[in-house]
């Protein structure tokens, strides 16, 4: 099975260092950095968030921005989509760059993903800002799955990650490729032939994900959100 060698924010943030690891390896980012290091000016963040999707979608989407107290609505939308800039803690729970403050993943979630996936990432953000460790966050996520507060992604959940901006991890040091990103249940990977040789559906290193968190797969597309070709 082919994985994206080094990968993306959990959305699409996940790093290659953990690709073959059974447990989280030593990390350059063992703990959370000061919260200020994860923040950016609101106008910059709004523009980056909207750049995740084509303007025909993102211009009418709700936009979230991160503050010291969590994500807040910076702009109202009317098409059911939500655009925001993910931080690395939305990567797999065993991702070695989980606390990398440089990680910025602009993404636009479609309505099913807004309903089923976004609440999980917002909860992680809340826990992170409250000072939880990665393991504490994982424990809470597992408990939330167990009591059905969280669930597998709703059918047809996906996101656009078509921004030229962003920084998905230290290996990629940028946005990777323009892509569409379905969210699926962990057990669906094989049923979609995701990661098979020659398949246009790619998978992140599965060892960085746990079964009680949303799993993302990636379908590279030809153009960035601004219409230019992604070579």
């Amino acid at each position: 099975m082919k994985t994206i060698a080094c990968a993306l924010l959990a959305g699409g943030l996940a790093s290659c260092a953990a690709a073959s690891a059974q447990t989280a390896p030593a990390s350059a980012y063992p703990t959370m950095a000061p919260v200020e290091k994860y923040l950016m000016p609101a106008a910059t963040e709004i523009a980056m968030a909207r750049s995740a999707g084509p303007a025909s979608v993102s211009a009418r989407a709700e936009v979230l921005v991160l503050t010291k107290n969590g994500y807040v609505v910076a702009a109202k939308g009317d098409n059911g989509w939500v655009c925001w800039v993910e931080r690395m803690w939305t990567a797999g729970l065993d991702d070695p760059e989980f606390w990398n403050p440089k990680g910025h993943g602009p993404t636009c979630f479609n309505p099913p993903a807004v309903r089923s996936v976004l609440p999980q990432y917002l909860a992680r953000t809340k826990w992170a800002l409250e000072g939880d460790t990665r393991e504490q966050i994982a424990k809470k996520a597992r408990a939330a799955y167990a009591d059905r507060q969280f669930s597998d992604p709703a059918p047809d959940s996906f996101a656009f990650m078509m921004s030229k901006q962003g920084y998905l991890n230290d290996q990629i040091k940028g946005p990777w490729h323009s892509h569409v990103m379905p969210f699926i249940a962990y057990d669906q990977v094989a049923t979609w032939a995701a990661g098979f040789e020659g398949s246009p559906i790619l998978v992140p290193p599965l060892s960085t994900f746990r079964r009680y968190e949303p799993l993302t797969i990636f379908i590279p597309v030809h153009r960035w959100s601004d219409g230019t070709v992604d070579p």
Partner: protein, 239 residues
């Protein structure tokens, strides 16, 4: 971005650029009725098997079940082990009202994943049986509606995916092989507002939805995502 002109494919798709209205060039209706059956068949069984498998990369299709069409309908030519089913669909899986509905040149290779093999593919087989029994386009539509209403055809579960990555396909006279692409089957409601929940057919979106699909009674909305390579690894045309 130039929006890909979808006039695609498997199960029912097809119309122009998301429009439900029959395009002007269709008025001539070059395929007003079914041609002699043998024009839809492939005399070389192995060629049909190979064409079916070309819908997906070998890592998927070589272990798939393959169906071939003969005068009695689709039958299994080769049993697979991975749950996928590859088949060469004919023109009657297009949208009702499509001007290529009876085009005997259409050869649309597609590989369905396990979920779609148990649901979406059954509609292809159902339509085909009616065609071989001599049904007209209107009769196929009516019988399809009846079967769906009576619960004799399944509602697709979640996770229905199909690969259409064959360079050798002939989807219709307008687009030939179109682009290599994936197909996703969503609940019919996802087609609301021209597929807004998928961001489809919006300027610059990589997702394509054929609104003409709405004319079909099949209980899904089908979305297309063009991808960069054909199943043989060669680059697809730029979108």
């Amino acid at each position: 971005m130039n929006q890909p002109r979808i006039v695609v494919a498997a199960m029912a798709v097809i119309s122009l650029a998301g429009g439900a209205i029959r395009p002007a060039w269709a008025i001539a209706a070059p395929y007003a009725q079914m041609a002699p059956l043998n024009r839809y068949l492939m005399p070389n069984r192995q060629r049909e098997i190979d064409l079916a498998r070309s819908a997906a990369p070998p890592s998927i299709s070589r272990r798939a079940t393959v169906l071939v069409l003969d005068a009695h309908g689709y039958s299994t030519a080769e049993e697979g082990t991975n749950g996928f089913t590859c088949v060469v669909e004919r023109s009657w899986t297009k949208s009702f009202d499509d001007d290529n509905f009876w085009n005997p040149k259409v050869r649309a290779p597609v590989c369905y994943n396990a979920a779609a093999s148990q649901s979406v593919l059954r509609y292809t087989v159902f339509r085909t049986a009616l065609v071989l029994a001599g049904a007209s386009e209107a009769q196929i539509l009516a019988r399809l509606k009846q079967a769906i209403a009576a619960g004799r055809l399944p509602t697709p579960p979640n996770g229905n995916v199909a690969y259409m990555m064959s360079k050798q396909g002939y989807i219709d006279d307008h687009v030939k092989a179109w682009y290599p692409h994936l197909m996703f089957y969503a609940p019919k409601s996802a087609g609301a507002n021209a597929g807004e929940s998928w961001g489809a057919d919006r300027r610059g979106s990589p997702v394509v939805y054929d609104a003409g699909h709405a004319i079909n009674p099949e209980p899904w909305a089908c979305f297309f995502v063009p991808v960069g390579h054909w199943s043989d690894g060669s680059a697809g045309p730029p979108t």
